[in-house]
Amino acid sequence: MWRLKKPFAIYIFLLFLLVPVNAFAEEFKVESGRSIQSAVEGAGNGDIILVSPGVYKENVMINKEITIKGEEGAIIDGGGKGNVIIVRASNVVLEGLTIQNSGTGQEDSGIYIKKAHHNVIKNNTLKNVQNGIYIANSNENKLLGNRIASNESHFSKRGNGIHMFKGGGHLLKENEIANVQDGIYFDFTKGIKLQGNHISESRYGMHMMFSEDILAEKNLVEKNVTGLMVMGSARIDFIENKVTDHFHFRGYGILIYETKDVLVEGNEILRNSTGLSLEYGVDTLVNRNQIAANQVGLEFMGKNENSTFSENNFIGNVVQSKIAGENMRLDDGVKGNYWDDYSSFDLSGDGVGEEAYKAGSLYDRLLRKQPYWQFFFESPSIKLWTKAEALFPSFGSADVYDARPLIEPVTMLQKTEQNSKDRRIPGMIGILFILLSILVIVKGRKLR
């Protein structure tokens, strides 16, 4: 009996010996001048590799579940060849590294992740790379607080900040992306969450191609050619972002093309060539946005089905709306939008204008066919034409109107909080002064 069980006992003993080795992750330290790759080869799943400051000229391939942490000044330099770091394993953590000089091929990247899941890429600096982080056929990776810039050339020669191809479920939070082709490129990807990212000085801030279920919240997209470019996608939620300063020739704040189920809510769309443009959109919901100081506030082209606009503020746009599309209603039946060039009155006192606001003019359609007619912008003849059109509707332009135009601009949530705070302080000071003066008066009287 004992003889038979002995091998089993040894086996179990050995198993116990093995478990702690795996559970207590080993820590390796790579000193400057050594190779990170050989440290990776020597490591096992769950191990941590600490990288000392220094420049490591190598391309690293990771095929194990390990953590690589860079101390400040740890630089991995790809030497202008291929990908700097390739991740082919899941549960990898890359943190605090500076990653630079990838190749210039179309898919060459600072960090290239393929068929790998649940990885965390955190607080890295990527510079002079073709693409920053390229994630192909992978699921549920987290990219947090990385700084990404491509090379010093025209945007047509650069790659994208973060490129996602197929797969999905990723979380992109607080990344800082500048000087790339497209900040974040969605290529047939699904279920992405974006929060607090800052994208600037690139071609498109976010570029969604054939992607679905995307939630972008509280991002800042500024000074690109176009802020948000959506094409052939579905179920996009774009909430409380700031899209500003896209003053490029043919630049847009938000351009939505052939896309279904888009929610644009609570955004600030300021100072763009064209604020918001819709072409062949289906079920687009645009609520409570601040659309102000754009060259053109709102643009419709082609056919848009079932779009709803409510409680948006259109303020101080040079051209409020440009309509080269088909008939459409711009309110949800209860509430419309605030248009600062609305010139009728609210007689019933319910905050809604009695006459419908008419968007666009015949001139817009002509412009679509004859772009050079822009020359006649604000000329007396065009003004006369627009006026005549207002007096005699159905003069030829599409019938796009807001039947419930608001008389007062909508106060946005973020602003009311600020206002109430601001109001409290002067109020307190006022009360203080009144008390002081009462005191002075009462005391003064007594003294006499």
Binding site: Q106, H154, F155, S156, F165, Q181, D187, F188, R203, M209, F210, V225, T226, M229, M231, F249, R250, L255, Y257, E279
Partner: protein
């Protein structure tokens, strides 16, 4: 005096007509300005750009060969003989090639700006080389491209 004026008129007429793109040659792409006629996307990936040049000198630019095909479907009169020439670029060199003479590599997973998966080349060898390198896809010539079902048609 009259004769001089006549010569001047003829010369100026010649200069004006000289500006006309009667040879139907393709035009350089300016990624800073040019956008696709169909999908509005700026033409940043210059070597994937395509062009339609019409007999009356109009140049239409596209970011992807699929958009050009969609445009030609829409503008049926351009399909008539000699009304327009279609150009694609060799993806390696950026050389302009007439669509009839070009060869293409196709696989739905090949990246192109509009995800049509058709990449163009100046000759059959380069297209075959690309397919071999990628380890997937097929080579299309002008005729098989005519019968190709584009992603936007599905």
């Amino acid at each position: 005096m009259n004769k001089k004026l006549g010569v001047l008129l003829i010369m100026s007429a010649a200069i004006i007509s000289g500006c006309n793109n009667s040879t139907m040659e393709p035009e350089e792409i300016n990624p800073e300005i040019d956008v696709c006629e169909v999908c509005n996307m700026s033409i940043a990936n210059e070597n994937y750009a395509t062009e339609v040049v019409t007999a009356d000198g109009e140049v239409y630019k596209f970011d992807d060969i699929g958009c050009m095909d969609e445009f030609m479907e829409r503008e049926a009169p351009l399909k008539e003989e000699n009304a327009a020439k279609q150009y694609v670029r060799d993806v390696d060199t950026g050389e302009w090639v007439e669509l009839e003479k070009a060869f293409h590599a196709y696989h739905p997973d090949f990246w192109t700006p509009m995800a049509n998966g058709v990449v163009s080349f100046k000759d059959k060898e380069s297209a075959e080389k690309y397919v071999n390198e990628q380890g997937m896809g097929e080579v299309l010539d002008y005729e098989s491209l005519e019968n190709h079902e584009w992603s936007w048609e599905q």
